[in-house]
């Protein structure tokens, strides 16, 4: 029986919550046949040293990413809105808790 290529196992992105109170953070990717298999592989690959208390696995194909070329369109408009930062405002001397 001829073997189909190994990369027929889809690619999954792995996210680990390092401890309670923290967000899940992207740590890398792996191949697995399905979600349960991906979780098992993620456990073996990314948490051999108590790196986490919770795992997410997401099919890589399900992620929609912004394109590097859209950077200006997406992010530059924020550059001239310094009034969104508290440091934009002057406060009289001696006023506290502001």
């Amino acid at each position: 029986m001829s073997e189909r290529p190994l990369d027929e196992w889809p690619l999954w992105e792995v996210f680990v919550r390092a401890r309670r109170g923290l967000s899940h953070t992207h740590v890398g990717s792996l191949h697995a046949a399905d979600a349960e298999h991906a979780l098992h592989n993620a456990r073996d690959l990314y948490t051999r040293r108590r790196e986490g208390v919770s795992l997410w696995v997401v099919p890589a194909a399900s992620i929609t990413a912004s394109a590097p070329d859209d950077r200006e369109v997406l992010f530059d408009p924020a550059d001239d809105k310094v009034y969104r930062h508290p440091t934009f405002y002057s406060v009289p001397e001696g006023v506290e808790h502001l």
Binding site: M1, E3, R4, P5, L6, D7, E8, W9, L11, E13, H26, V27, G28, S29, L30, H31, A32, A33, D34, H37, D44, L45, R48, R49, A60, A61, I63, A65, A67, P68, D69
Partner: protein, 326 residues
């Protein structure tokens, strides 16, 4: 790491300018950024070779798992060999972000079209070899890999941070094995010295040919993939292991090894580059064995990969069936 997506083709001149600016600023290139073809090719070659080295490197050490001298040493060695598999997987993931598939990479390894570190073509003849591999081979690997944590390609740099954290356990466990042997019976001491004698020169070769003859060095340095030259890293390694050998009470088999106060470094002897070339060409003691074992392991694992796919397909069909309205 969405590896299936290729970089969008931006206007080349502007894209090149932006790429150069990112490299010049010491920032990271990420998978979907535009990058020059030779940057991508250099990274694929280097990361693949690195990944292959990790999984081929499992063989010489796994050779001693069933014969480890105690349950503790056995558990440690299993954990270490499992780490090497993990390092290979981190690196294959990083390579895949460059648009090459894992199956292709494995095919290239199996067909001898991509290389792995020639150090793994030497045999592990005694238990002391397991110690020396941790001390010298992993020590040399760490010297090479720490600067790669700042490599210009984000996914490679991030994989290396993880690898380096785990390598320090490997280096220490090896040093401890040797320390115990070097302070044991005369036979154990002799075994530790013999293993050190056999691995010293090959470990110096791990840094690659001298700078003047290194084919890819200049380009890799310009691209921020490599931060230090082969000879600089080799010198750093020698300076590190000489005092460590003293602490072990072992001698390094190099009559030219001595402190040079003018340079502030240890001088060391001439490396036998003819041997290096021979091993690289496939004529080392274990080249054929390593590759044939790898191919056999891959072929013998085919049914597992097939079964996992079949199981996943069956579960997906069932879920669809149960989920459909009656």
């Amino acid at each position: 790491m969405v590896s299936t997506e290729t970089s969008p083709r931006a206007e080349p001149a502007a894209a090149r300018e932006r790429f150069d600016a990112v490299i010049a600023a010491g920032e990271r290139i990420e998978p979907r950024d535009w990058m020059p073809d030779d940057y991508r090719a250099t990274l694929v070659r280097q990361i693949a070779q690195h990944a292959h080295s990790e999984i081929i490197g499992m063989q010489p050490e796994a050779n001693w798992i069933t014969r480890a001298p105690s349950l503790k040493r056995k558990a440690v060695l299993i954990a270490k060999v499992q780490d090497e598999a993990g390092h290979g997987l981190y690196l294959y993931s990083a390579a895949e972000t460059l648009g090459v598939s894992r199956a292709e990479l494995l095919d290239m390894l199996h067909e001898g079209r991509q290389k792995y570190s020639s150090i793994f073509n030497y045999p592990t003849l005694t238990w002391a070899d397991v110690g020396v591999i941790g001390w010298l081979v992993d020590g040399a690997a760490i010297t090479n890999q720490v600067p790669l944590c700042r490599c210009s390609y984000g996914p490679y740099a991030r994989a290396m941070v993880r690898v380096c954290k785990e390598e320090s356990f490997h280096q220490r466990q090896g040093f401890e094995i040797l320390h115990v042997l070097a302070h044991g019976t005369p036979e154990q001491r002799a075994m530790a010295q013999d293993a050190t004698d056999r691995w010293y020169w090959p470990s110096l070769m791990m840094f690659g040919p001298p700078d003047a003859e290194s084919a890819h060095s200049a380009r890799s340095m310009a691209y921020g993939i490599k931060r230090f030259s082969n000879d600089e890293l080799r010198q750093r390694f020698v300076d590190m292991i000489v005092p460590q050998a003293d602490a072990l009470g072992l001698t390094l088999p190099d009559p030219d090894l001595r402190w040079n106060p003018e340079r502030g470094h240890y001088d060391f002897g001439e490396i036998d580059w003819a041997e290096f070339t021979q091993v690289l060409k496939g004529n080392g003691p274990c080249n054929r064995q390593r590759l044939s074992h790898r191919r056999a392991a891959h072929a013998e694992g085919a049914w597992v990969r097939e079964a996992a796919r079949a199981h996943a397909a069956k579960r997906a069909r069932r879920a669809e069936h149960e989920g459909s309205p009656a």
